[in-house]
């Protein structure tokens, strides 16, 4: 159990710790997440594809892994960094320990790292490329490997995590769903699909590359543009699809990467944040109601609001740094948020947005029937 492991960053920082997941070497963009619960959701969130996640909460794995809290079929992140991983989890739902789960899925992880010091460094320097290795302890070589990694910018990671073919979400579905939603899968979290099922929608998940015509053929009441990893700009074919759906006036709801893609489709630009928003405690104000919701966030890129046409208005603002968190089109049935209304992990304050989506679809259908 005293197997050593190392974390190296592109700036030359090398930290020694202990291996607590699979053996091997992995690389990715280093980000930190400040959520105190919900590591399982983070591990299985496809949006973390290509990233090494540092948990700022020091004791991870306390309640193990449960059967009901996966956000996708398997962990997608590049690696995990923690202060201490729990060997003896305790919870009535626990089915295995995080260490076993990581090993089973080949995820390299390191513990015994001063995660606060690392976080402060990432806060100062911005998200850095990094490597975790259980094989190579040479600092120079590891840092060089980190520098050799491709940058997040310009990579189409949605392509990596999207589904291969369309599929139906059945868990928690109502017997006779009132609405049909097509979910463009850029790395969708099960949490979103669970919310759709809960609001009485049948959800068909389609690959990111699905064309507008194919989507329209499914006769959806609305299309949900899912979350996903990385830079939105290279996901160009999807942007084209969304543009077509906008023209067809299909109700659209974008979440996270889906929000950014909608922004691009509406003619806007996106930019990369210094170290992104990753956590469960970000205050966002709904400008329509004035209410503050505590939101789950996980994004490194952001929509530049000034770049959008004037028909697009900001609906939500992040109260920590003033960045835009949501938008809606004045005349088209499309809206989106940068954060995660399904939460998982995080507070459930923003679930009303799914109701808004339902209302948008119902209004559209009523209008079509007239």
């Amino acid at each position: 159990m005293n197997d050593k492991a190392w974390l190296a960053l592109e700036d030359g920082t090398v930290l020694e710790g202990r291996a607590c997941g699979a053996a091997g070497e992995t690389g990715g963009e280093s980000v930190f997440n400040t959520a105190m619960t919900g590591y399982q959701e983070i591990l299985t969130d496809p949006s973390y594809c290509g990233q090494i996640v540092t948990m700022t909460y020091p004791q991870i794995g306390n309640y193990g892994i449960t059967a009901a809290d996966h956000e996708s079929a398997r962990p997608r992140l590049a690696g995990l960094v923690v202060r201490e991983l729990c060997r003896h989890p305790s919870n009535h739902e626990s089915v295995e320990s995080v260490g076993d789960f990581l090993k089973k899925h080949g995820i390299v992880a390191v513990e015994d790292i001063d995660t606060r010091a690392l976080t402060l460094r990432l806060r100062e320097r911005g998200a850095l490329r990094g490597v975790i290795s259980t094989l190579d302890g040479d600092p120079k070589r590891l840092a060089a490997k980190a520098r050799a990694l491709p940058s997040m910018t310009g990579r189409n990671l949605a392509k990596v995590v999207t589904c291969e073919k369309p599929w139906e979400w059945t868990e928690g579905s109502q017997p006779k769903p009132a609405r049909r939603v097509v979910v463009m899968d850029f790395g969708v979290k099960y949490g979103i699909l669970r919310r759709l099922a809960a609001m009485g929608a049948a959800a068909t998940v389609v690959p990111a590359s699905t064309t507008a015509d194919d989507i329209l053929r499914l006769n959806p009441d609305g299309v949900l543009l899912s979350n996903g990893p990385g830079d939105p700009e290279p996901v160009a074919d999807a942007v084209e699809t969304i543009r077509r759906l906008l023209i067809e006036r299909v109700p659209l709801f974008g979440i996270c990467l889906g929000h950014q893609l909608l922004g691009l489709a509406l003619g806007g630009r996106t930019f990369k944040l210094k170290f992104g928003h990753h956590g469960s405690n970000h205050p966002v104000k709904d400008l329509a109601t004035g209410r503050v919701e505590i939101t789950a966030q996980n994004h490194g890129f952001c929509v530049d609001l000034d770049s959008l046409p004037k028909e697009v208005r900001t609906t939500h603002v992040n109260l920590n740094d003033g960045t835009s968190e949501g938008m809606a089109h004045a005349s088209l049935p499309a809206f989106s948020v940068q954060y995660h209304p399904e939460a998982c992990a995080g507070p459930h304050d923003s679930r009303y947005l799914f109701d808004r989506f339902a209302a948008l679809m119902d209004a559209r259908r009523a209008a079509a029937a007239r």
Binding site: T37, T56, N281
Partner: protein, 1077 residues
């Protein structure tokens, strides 16, 4: 929404005396709240009877009323001030109850006072069990299942529905009589049978037992725009069945999945919305069945609480301050996060460390005791670490209860050990350690204790590591691992058979040193401006910004305990204030989360650390202060003073060697002789034989105590050889120090306390206090009055002169407290302590001058002539009288005799302030909850020595319309002197006896002075019954006299209220509190 402008003046209600269950957390919340309201431009009025608080300092509120917390006094304050609103949510249950009482009497309506923070119906809905249950069912929340039965026919169905064990409660019986727990059907049948018989309404409540379930608390805030945030989640290590104040607790919650936690958060939001808590902080308790995850809501407190204080310190989020701002109309997003300054208050703190709180029990006073749902701890220590293991060890050593961390209990056989593990008690955790060390499995321990296996596995890691330490080579790697697990140098020393100093030297030489990380509310996501640190063993710490100017470190007083409480925290906060005013930086070190001293803005830099030599030395090394203040934090820092001095740490003010000289009986005795000051004859005995010899030389009665004691622990008055030998044996068993101090006991002497400040040239007698009780009652338990009410000027002049000479002789620089006894005109010094005393805040409030602040400036080199108004320096005293009364915790400890003695038992104090002694005494009694009657029957039973004196008292009482009741011998004595008294049987003399009479509420006052020797059983029964029935019982003759004077005043005239700010106008000197250059 901006703040309200229709309100200009707000009344804040404090929480009164420190009692078990209501500690100094409400000084923290009230002070924060008052500061916040003032910052917004509101005029603030405060009512609180507790003088030992920062909030009652005259510069905190605009109008400060130190008056009893009763509806009558509240009305007087409201009538005098006419505030538009009252804020009752910062003063604990006391303030909430007082507000409800005032509202129900129509006082608030009469004067048009609005309740801020929680409307009346909100308080009712939250506090009334029936209304609460109905509200929870309405929103579909789960509660422990219960049903009412009126006969024994349907018990099978009931048992099926609730499942065993079942809690049986008989309706409308006193004190839960007739109730109990049924573990199987036969037991249920018999218990219900009994309960039905006992219930006057023939109703029995059967409730599902949730004992052993996991217990959680959420600290939440809500504003009037319905914004809701959770500040902190707390998980209890001790499962349901132990009061949360007595549990070891952890923040954040450790064993809930995100979904389970978020669902609990959703429930909490629905609870506060339904109850209607619109503005402020509150906490909601939940229980979770560990087998199924079923979650039930237990209760809500619609106010800030002890847990809010803990949550504030655990996260850095100032709950009380924000609650006060929400109460006047702001919303969370309009307020800044005071820690980051850059982000708003509408967020949920993310923490990147683990916080453990451990309760401090008064086992040294009341022994080991089992725990239940009524709180029994007197204080708490909080610790911050990077892991639960580290934080647990730090919290336990921070308790200063003799353990250096997570250690074992006394060795017993396995069966008794498992029993101790299975029974919640003040020492259970140490038994758990012993069980783990013995190799008993986590599963078995979890089964009997119901402590979650997660915690037990963490503890097992500590036990396993410690076992591996034995005989291992202490290299840097092993030491670092030990320190990362929170082991103290003392623990490592014991495990490896070295001295603590040797471990420390080796550790430092190997470079194994702590770093300091920041508590910043955001897990490092944003830069933070508030320097609030904790130690840990990591490769690197957060940068500590350097600061120009002098840096002074203040050592706090650690967890509250009997004998060392809020008074010392008050002094530490004053010291920080004094330093700030003169431009020096203050560095506060403390581990008590209830306090003002650990508030984020009390000092320039806060180290939330245990006050052990190891922890303090490391901070000294990190900060390199120009001086360390040890004389304000009570015994805790004093115990470290000599070692710190030896380590080359600069001690500010009186030097440790001088402090030691006053504590060393021989040195001190020689000094007194040289100064020509009388002291009671005394001696130190190392053997029982020597003790007998000394006692016979001095003459009985004698006062005995072990050497090196705190708060009069084990101090007793001994009347004969047999009792002395018995004492010597008990002292030997209880302490490692074999020696006993023996003093002549000055029976019936008047006792005095003097607080003074010395700058090396002048001595300022800040206050002379005369005890109400005679010598023999611990000064901390004694009521006292300033200025003295009964002593001749000549004796007082001598007291002042003695104090002056002692302070100069002992080379005091700063505070000194001297205790005197005056008997037959002679003045004796009992002891002198060159440090802050418990009475410093009381004296400050009475004299109108900030004694601790002045002492700090003196330590920093200023002179008294520049600091203290010359009239005060020359001995001018207030033209009014202040009386301090102690508040005692006897009601919480069944079986303890509620009588005063040389060993301190009080948890807190109140102050009565009025124009003369009887009035101020009357107020102090009312503030202490002792309701002096204005009529009725008085029971008199006094020892022979008091009989002449009682005649005078009895006559006065008769004149005032009381009737007298006495047992045979006292009744005969009274009648011989022309006073008729109703006779009542002693216990055992037949029925009805005096206890029956009490129970029938046939008596309104009990005067019972126990004879000096062992208290007799019937005396005990009388005192205990009176206590439990809340009938005032006075146990010494001098207090009786004072009480009779006070009763005459109460009968005579309406009492009035005056704020400190107005009282001070009558002082014969100016009270400008700011520093004169």
């Amino acid at each position: 929404m901006p703040k309200r402008t229709d309100i200009r003046k707000i009344l804040v209600i404090g929480s009164g005396s420190i009692v078990i269950g209501q500690g100094c957390e409400f000084d923290y919340s009230g002070t924060q709240g008052l500061k916040a309201l003032r910052e917004e431009g509101y005029e603030t009025v405060l009512i609180n009877s507790n003088p030992a608080t920062i909030m009652t300092d005259p510069e905190i509120a605009d109008r400060t009323y130190i008056e009893p917390l009763t509806p009558a006094y509240l009305e007087k304050v409201i009538a005098a001030e006419r505030p538009q609103a009252v804020l009752p949510t910062l003063g604990g249950q006391t303030a909430l109850n007082l507000t409800v009482a005032a509202a129900e009497r129509g006082i608030l309506d009469k004067y048009g006072v609005e309740i801020l923070g929680a409307r009346l119906e909100v308080i009712r809905k939250a506090e009334d069990r029936q209304l609460f249950k109905a509200a929870m069912l309405k929103i579909g929340l789960d509660l422990p299942r219960s049903l009412v039965v009126t006969d024994e026919t349907d018990l099978k169905r009931a048992a099926q529905e609730l499942g065993f064990p079942i809690i049986v409660r008989a309706s409308f019986t006193l004190g839960g009589a007739g109730g109990g727990i049924a573990y199987h059907f036969d037991e249920l049948r018999s218990r219900v049978h009994t309960a039905l018989e006992m219930s006057p309404v023939k109703k029995v409540l059967l409730e599902e037992s949730i004992i052993g379930w996991k217990e959680y608390e959420l600290e939440v805030m809500r504003d009037r725009a319905d914004n809701f945030v959770v500040i902190c989640s707390i998980e209890n290590v001790d499962p349901m069945g132990v009061h949360t104040g007595d549990s070891v607790t952890v923040a954040p919650a450790q064993t809930l999945t995100d979904r389970q936690y978020q669902e609990m958060r959703d429930d909490a939001r629905r609870v506060v919305t339904e109850i209607g808590v619109e503005t402020g902080g509150c906490n909601i308790q939940f229980a979770v069945d560990p087998r199924t995850g079923r979650r039930v809501v237990i209760e809500i407190n619609p106010r800030v609480s002890r847990s809010s204080a803990l949550a504030s310190k655990a996260t850095g989020f100032p709950i009380a301050r924000i609650a006060a701002k929400l109460a006047v109309g702001y919303t969370l997003d309009e307020l800044p996060n005071d820690i980051t300054k850059a982000t708003p208050a509408s967020f949920e703190p993310a923490i990147d460390y683990v916080v453990v709180k451990a309760p401090r029990f008064a086992t040294e006073k009341f022994g080991e005791f089992p725990l239940d749902t009524a709180m029994k701890s007197v204080g708490e220590a909080m610790a911050v670490g990077r892991t639960f293991k580290e934080a647990l060890q730090k919290a336990l050593r921070g308790l200063e209860s003799g353990k250096k961390g997570f250690e074992g209990a006394e060795a017993v056989d396995e069966e008794s050990l498992l029993k101790s593990v299975g029974t919640p008690s003040s020492s259970r955790l140490y038994h758990v350690q012993s069980a783990l060390a013995r190799g008993i499995s986590v599963e078995r321990i979890a089964e009997v204790s119901r402590i979650d296996p997660w915690f037990l596995n963490q503890m097992r890691e500590l036990v396993d590591f410690e076992a591996g330490l034995k005989g291992a080579a202490l290299d840097a790697g092993l030491l670092r691992r030990a320190k990362r697990l929170g082991f103290s140098d003392a623990q490592i020393a014991r495990a490896t058979g070295r001295s603590e100093a040797a471990v420390r030297t080796r550790r430092r030489r190997l470079g194994v040193r702590p770093v300091y990380k920041l508590v910043d509310t955001c897990a490092g996501e944003f830069p933070s401006k508030t320097p609030y640190f904790y130690s840990t063993y990591e490769p690197s710490g957060d940068p500590i910004a350097s600061r120009p100017g002098r840096k002074i470190m203040i050592l706090g007083s650690g967890p509250n305990r009997i004998g060392q409480g809020i008074e010392f925290d008050y002094c530490c906060v004053q010291a920080a204030k004094a330093l700030r005013e003169m431009g020096a930086a203050s560095i506060m070190v403390n581990c008590n989360p209830e306090t003002v001293s650990t508030d984020f803005d009390s000092s320039d830099r806060l180290y939330f650390e245990p006050l052990t030599l190891e922890d303090v030395l490391e901070i000294v090394d990190a900060e390199r202060p120009d001086g360390v203040i040890v004389q304000f934090g009570g015994q805790t820092p004093l115990n470290l003073a000599l070692a710190l001095e030896k380590a080359g740490v600069p001690i500010l003010g009186t030097q440790p060697s001088a402090i030691d000289a006053a504590e060393d009986r021989r040195l001190f005795g020689a000094a007194l002789k040289k100064l020509g000051i009388l002291a009671p004859e005394s001696g130190i005995a190392r053997t029982p034989e020597a003790a007998l010899k000394i006692a016979r030389r001095i003459g009985y009665p004698v006062m005995v105590r072990p050497s090196y004691v705190l708060g009069g622990r084990m101090m007793e008055i001994v009347y004969d050889d047999a009792a002395l030998l018995d004492y010597a044996e008990r002292a030997r068993r209880a302490s490692l120090h074999p020696s006993i101090l023996i003093d002549r006991f000055l029976a019936d002497a008047a006792e005095l306390d003097v607080d003074a400040v010395c700058d090396g040239r002048d001595v300022w007698i800040a206050g002379v206090m005369e005890h109400i009780e005679e010598a023999g009652v611990h000064s901390g338990d004694s009521a006292c009055t300033l200025p003295p009410h009964s002593l001749p000027p000549a004796a007082l002049a001598q007291v002042r002169e003695h104090t002056r000479r002692l302070a100069l002789h002992l080379k005091v620089k700063g505070l000194i407290n001297v205790q005197y006894a005056i008997k037959d005109g002679a003045v004796y010094v009992l002891e002198a302590n060159p440090r802050a005393s418990r009475t410093v805040p009381f004296v400050s409030k009475a004299a109108g001058l900030p004694v601790a602040r002045i002492a700090t400036w003196v330590m920093m080199g200023k002179t008294l002539r520049k600091l203290v108004p010359s009239a005060a320096l020359k001995g001018a005293v207030p033209p009014y009288t202040a009386t301090k009364e102690a508040v005692l915790p006897f009601i919480k400890f069944p079986g303890v005799d509620p009588r005063l003695g040389p060993e301190m038992k009080s948890t807190g104090e109140v102050m009565g302030l009025d124009s003369d002694f009887p009035r101020s005494f009357a107020k102090s009694q009312e503030a202490a909850g002792l309701n002096l009657p204005s009529g009725g029957a008085v029971f008199v039973s006094v020892r022979d020595e008091d009989k002449p004196e009682i005649l005078h008292v009895a006559r006065s009482l008769r004149q005032m319309g009381f009737t007298l009741t006495a047992t045979r011998s006292t009744a005969e004595y009274l009648s011989r002197h022309g006073l008729s008294a109703q006779r009542v049987a002693k216990i055992g003399e037949g029925k009805p006896d005096v206890v029956d009479l009490l129970k029938q509420r046939g008596l309104s006052l009990v005067i019972n002075t126990p004879s000096g020797k062992r208290s007799r059983a019937d005396g005990y029964a009388i005192r205990r019954t009176a206590l439990e029935l809340d009938i005032p019982c006075i146990t010494n003759i001098r207090s009786v006299r004072a009480a009779v004077h006070a009763i005459a005043v109460i009968q005579g005239a309406e009492m009035s209220v005056t704020p400190l700010q107005d009282r001070y106008k009558d002082l014969p000197y100016p009270v400008d509190m700011s520093l004169k250059s």
